[in-house]
Assembly symmetry: C3
Homo-oligomer: 478 residues x 3
């Protein structure tokens, strides 16, 4: 494959995929998707029949504020976190937008078939909780995008998302339904899966000559400030992420508190390690933008358990350290020795803390005690009902650990397969020296220096952007 001469024209492929996909969605939604009883106009009757005293008991009011916070995390949080590159901010926030809008429709179907298919009517019914789960499902593919940022075409990203959402729904079904794990904030099903999925794809797509575009693989001052928008909205709303689909009442309440505390703790240890790592104690924006979030990832499973407030602080403490060390040592090691290029360091922010979060969940579950939870509380929290009524907490812990392994295995194997699919030379991915450059897939405006009127004659000379992918340019003179 001669990468330098790659054809990045996606004028046929991108519209074709979008149209085919969207039409398929309309047809499948027409066949399968209906409103659930809380969003259907029959709600008034449903309320009366089920003795629901007030409209406020509609699940909408329990979950909609959290849904909107999760929604912000998916689109602004993930999107702006990926604007840190000096010339890939359009691609960072724009393709994130495309992936999520594309993935959430497929997620509603896939998750619906596995979880909400009414066997009598053959229909899937959706409500606000379905929307949250669809957003969660997209998060897996968005995490994978983090490892691929700047190196793939939008068409490839849609393929990543198509398979990512599909794999997600299957592993989620295995982990949550078959193994009966609890994973409210998705340490396992979202972060460990998504992280390893992206890493495996990136490993298969290894580009030995990527250093040619090193010039663009870094930030500028203002792009780092843009990325802080992403960081902060993720950080602030992570308590909503981890509590969005937990049990009504104490479940949501406790998950929010635990996540809030773990995140605060992560910030302090991230700052400490970042400062220690530089000879004059200066902080590195890469660490502050990412490792501060590790506490939220690692609390994804245990947040709804009685992990205790100080337990949450300990989780944040450790994962802040581990994640920052990851950025300092593991990412360079992976690139040099494992030939794995991880643009955003998703290994350090999602894969490793997600895996840890899975095992933390297993330990906390195994240590659960009726005196701490109360009898009813224990049943509620771990959903020990029906066929799982007699499961012990120790067994639950074992299944939680097994679930973590399932998520990782799905990520690695699925990612490797998808990676090989993406190596076909038909997807319009950029040549090595056009990576991390918005010029390839976006109409980029002229530079800022073009503004001051005094300099106008000058700008003509130096700032005409050339179509880099055509690999020729001429300097226009006034």
């Amino acid at each position: 494959m001669q990468r330098l001469s790659r054809n990045t024209n996606i004028r046929v492929s991108l519209p074709a995929v979008c149209f085919v996909w969207q039409i398929a969605m309309i047809i499948l939604f027409g066949v399968f998707i209906r409103y659930d009883e809380e969003s259907d106009a029959h709600w008034v009757e449903f309320r009366r029949e089920n003795n629901i005293t007030s409209d406020i008991e509609n699940d909408f009011y329990f979950r909609y504020p959290s849904f909107q916070d999760v929604h912000v995390m998916i689109f602004v949080g993930f999107g702006f976190l990926m604007t840190f590159l000096k010339r890939y901010s359009f691609g960072g926030v724009g393709f994130n937008f495309l992936i999520a809008a594309f993935g959430l429709q497929w997620a509603l179907l896939m998750q619906g078939w596995f979880h909400a298919l009414n066997p009598e009517t053959g229909k899937i019914t959706i409500g606000v909780e379905s929307l949250i789960n669809a957003d969660f499902c997209c998060a897996g593919s968005l995490i994978a995008y983090g490892a691929l940022l700047g190196k793939v075409s939008p068409v490839q990203l849609l393929v990543v998302t198509l398979f990512g959402v599909t794999l997600f729904a299957v592993e989620e079904y295995i982990i949550l339904d078959l193994l009966h794990c609890r994973d409210a904030g998705g340490s396992m099903v979202i972060h460990a899966f998504g992280g390893y999925y992206g890493l495996a794809i990136s490993w298969v797509l290894y580009r030995p000559n990527l250093h040619q575009s090193k010039r663009l693989n870094g930030s500028v001052y203002h792009s780092d400030v843009f990325a802080m928008i992403g960081t902060l909205f993720l950080w602030m709303f992570w308590p909503s992420f981890n509590s969005a689909i937990t049990d009504h009442g104490d479940g949501q309440h406790r998950a929010a508190i635990n996540t809030y505390l773990a995140l605060a703790s992560s910030v302090l240890t991230t700052v400490a390690i970042s400062s220690m790592s530089q000879k004059r104690g200066k902080l590195d924006m890469v660490h502050i933008q990412n490792a501060t979030l590790a506490g939220g990832v690692a609390m994804g499973t245990a947040a709804e358990f009685m992990i205790t407030p100080y337990g949450s602080l300990i989780v944040g403490f450790c994962t802040g350290i581990i994640s920052t060390f990851g950025y300092l040592f593991v990412t360079p090691f992976l690139e040099k020795h494992l030939k794995l290029q991880d643009t955003c360091g998703v290994h350090n922010l999602h894969a490793m803390p997600g895996m840890l979060g899975g095992f933390i969940g297993a330990i906390v579950a195994a240590a659960a005690d009726e005196s701490v939870y109360s009898r009813e509380g224990l049943i509620n929290t771990f959903d020990f009902e029906g066929e799982f009524a007699n499961r012990s907490v120790g067994t639950q812990g074992g299944f939680q650990a097994a679930g973590t392994c399932v998520a990782i295995a799905f990520g690695l194997v699925g990612g490797a397969i998808v990676g090989f699919i993406l190596r076909f030379p038909i997807w319009g991915d950029p040549a090595d020296d056009n990576c991390y450059d918005d010029e390839v897939y976006w109409e980029v405006p002229e530079d800022e220096e073009a503004i001051p009127p005094v300099l106008e004659y000058n700008n003509h000379m130096i700032h005409k952007h050339q179509d880099i992918s055509e690999s020729n340019f001429s300097v226009e003179q006034s």
Copy 2:
């Protein structure tokens, strides 16, 4: 009118309007506005008398999260969407702020007089729903600002808002009360009205020599990223916009789901058309920033109806295409042949999708069926009570279509009149070659290049900003 010599000094007119207006508001609020029974300290008594079992039944808890989302859309969404110009970001976000803060007070009064005036006491009572409606009312004028961006003075914008809010309240009264239309998300009353209002004003204010400021009528890299903040907050919170004032329970729930789906669908078709329109398949930020939102606009009326999930996808599918085509072909056509300069393309994002949304609402209403809604659900959704108890769904559809026409007529006629008022040479609007330039109305800091210490001697030479509106400058030498 010799535009080059225009006086843009607003040191008397802007403060005068602000002070007179604010003092008038204080007096009128003193005479008319009071707390409603849910925000008044008598609430404890009111609860007891009305057998309301819990404080959570206060409308505040049904609507406040949606209100805050709408509030973000008005100030950050609309505001940052208009920061895309290279040198008009202050004006974009700053005048948006001024318009909305100015308009919402007048909206509380105007809407109050038409909808919430207690005939016995002569008072208007307000609660959280009034705040949402006031924000909605401002949205009409903010949409109009999109067509005028960069070409008018802040004093003119206050005039636009004063008339805009007034016209809004009247057309809203006609459409919602007299015609008894449903329009929860305001496809008709907000978007069609606001869009045509702005277009009519812009048409009357046509500037034949505007090409002189073409240099500034475009974006730079970072201003496009700023605009994406606006886009995403609008996109994410549009489900709250369309569900903010719908019925408690299933109404809010369903409106949020439908809008969420329509928006997702819009993104895919916008990307497809944008990519098809460029010879190498590159995406255009103008389309991504705007046309992706068209699905939300077009669902403004039908979101609360049983349009079905796949129906929502179809609406988003079509409006994403239409809106992107609008940016590609209609805006240039309007400018060239109709002499209509529409800076933000509000025709494509608001006027056309809003009008479509009105007619979609009419069709869905006319097709409503008791078997789908249930008897009670139909009455609830369309408010077939009192004098409208016997209205058929077909009639309702006809009135919905009529309502759309009323909104458009108000926008066009009202806008033409306001446009003529704004042509008086007293408002301090900028000369043609100072359009799209913050220098006229803002103290603009020196340029970024002034930062690196090494270059300091250099900066003195080239970057002293001159007061452009005085149309002279001298290059200061160190």
Copy 3:
């Protein structure tokens, strides 16, 4: 003290403080902090025992949306408001993040000891309201940071926060518990205290030669747009700030309405005064970014009272004027004559409006009337129960005024002491000519001009950033 040779190496001190602090927090949380009955797994039992009919009655659902809004204000609002400096955006948003994450843990403990310590078990129980209060408590220190922005090291900021949170908890206990004042939005306990605390520190740390870094003490175009993100999120969510911990029902509802109105009014008078102050009527971004918020600060105490809608408008009207005048005249006066350098003008945005807010609260409380509130409403609003059952509204007004004085005294005296502690030459603060420069504490990426490939040879010559704090540099040549 020879400031030019100051050692800004914080490689030992910053990590040491973070680690010691975080470990101390874990131990203290382990000893003291537990879930309250609404976030504990015993909630199901608690519900049954207390005849709570539904999970929706959990305080989580009354307060979580407001909590998240407050959280956004603390991290994005305060953080981005401080990005306005041309080369201190990393420090503005990043140290804000560090302070808040550091402070909120200590706040949970300090406020817990004073307000929520169970004397039997010796434990503090926390829920969503505790999280809001912890965020509020941090706000005091973040306001103080505004006066110190660019002039102190992160280690100094942690000292400011440690003492700031401690002082806050004590003055809050005195004002709210001993004096039994009402101060839902914290005009007194947050803004007046935080503002005077920061001013007193800044006064003690006066730098006579700071003009040396004047070059960097200003904004650039895009940093002003970033700051508007902070401004708008503060402005939009201030109704949530002032209503977050007020009484369920009408209390929260009314506080949100009053704050919404006061803020709108502030915008108009800020614009008016800003325009009047410049010879061509141009607006100043410093005013728009800050003084527009003064109405929210000044409503912090009175928002939950029956101040009436027009009363709220009057408060916003006056404070918008006063705050803008502060930026025009008081800040320069303080710097010149009182040797007080206030980077963000916290005097005008927090100290003065906070003090005014305290006295406005006193007046409104003293004027409270049973006919306006109803008997029950008056008791509810002012919490006239237990030992305060017989307090008259006049007495309450007097205590409110006394509370304001207590807050100011704590700020001034505490700030002076902390200032003297910070003068020890061990904290790694920057030399005068390195103030307002991220280079000192952050790894700053190369400049934006480094991007266009055509200029690459050029960049090597001019844009290599030097470690300024070593006060030597050499121009590297290609």
